[in-house]
């Protein structure tokens, strides 16, 4: 039971065991569990940024998928030097454009991260 007799919550009662610096863990838990934009911020002032975060996350997901597909093809040796150059230039431009949009909406790289379960992280 995590509660004292007066009904006040005492989180430390839930601690079974710990080792190491829990501050590191706390930072990580916050980062991991807050990564996914579960809800759009519907405040009038924040809604634009909330929507931008959602849309840019989806664009980033598509960009990553395309890039990973290209990497697979390159590794299989099925892509000529010329095509590698062209693919690289395209992805570079796409990434530059994404950086610009992130700057406009004051979003950081980690804001667009997605935990894709068994597939790992987006970023």
């Amino acid at each position: 039971m995590a509660f004292a007799t007066d009904g006040q919550y005492e989180p430390m009662r839930k601690l079974v065991f710990q080792q190491g610096d829990l501050d590191d863990l706390a930072v990580r838990m916050e980062g991991v569990e807050g990564a996914l934009p579960r809800r759009i911020n519907a405040d009038p002032e924040g809604v634009e940024q909330g929507l931008a975060k959602l849309v840019l996350t989806l664009i980033e997901l598509l960009r990553e998928l395309l890039e990973r597909q290209a990497i697979k093809r390159i590794e299989s040796g099925a892509v000529s030097d010329e095509e590698i150059e062209r693919l690289g230039t395209t992805f570079q431009k796409l990434q530059a454009r994404m950086q610009e949009l992130k700057r406009i909406f004051s979003l950081k790289d980690e804001d667009l991260n997605l935990d894709l379960g068994p597939l790992g992280d987006l970023l």
Binding site: G7, L22, D24, G88, Q92, G120
Partner: protein
Amino acid sequence: MIYLYAVIDRPSAPIPATIGLCGAATDALQYRDIAAVISPLTTTQIQATEDNLWRHEMVLEELMTDRSVLPVQFGAVFTDELSALAVMDERYADFAANLNRVRGRVELGLRALWDDPLASSPDSQPSDDAVDGRAYMLDRVRKQRDLQARRQEAEAFAETIHGSIARLADESGYRLQVSPSPYLNGAYLVKREAVATFRQEVETLASTYPKLCLLCTGPWPPFSFVNGKQTEDTEGNEKWRLQPTGSTSR
């Protein structure tokens, strides 16, 4: 309006006198041999504040002391008792089966963080010298290979950690994040009487790997072993669903 905390067994035994959200006393709404634990609400908007979340948790923990509990995710509001009973009717078989699954068991959580020996460059961006398209692309290929190697290394170690304690649990599962450093988040459904043994095993794990940052918490209601999902039917009415997640061991 009513607020739903949990589905429980042993409805004939009185539930502990607990104050729920908005200071309202909790009550049991019996359906066949199970019951929904509810309290009246005067609002439809329950804010997910720290106090409210702990209040919800407190109700669950009081219930856990002498019966099986299927915890409902914070924020389940029904218009009236009839609508809650309709869900109990619709999902009765699932609820009864899940109450049997979690009977006499509690959830323990384990979070572990460790250094990645293969981590060289946490930066996922291309190097500055990747000035042309070809260099950019080859840089990405190299980084992808590095990440793959790191992932395999992390997965193998996660299996070691998880495996050493999962054998004490009836069901278990974990999620692993590889970047920026490996982070394991595991949940274990453990018989109440096995909690002390589980703790000893975590201590052994800690002494075997002294550099591991570990946090073991509990006992919790079996949140990770029932999956609450609020959906709407075709008429837009809210329905509360509880579904078993089963074992998610990887």
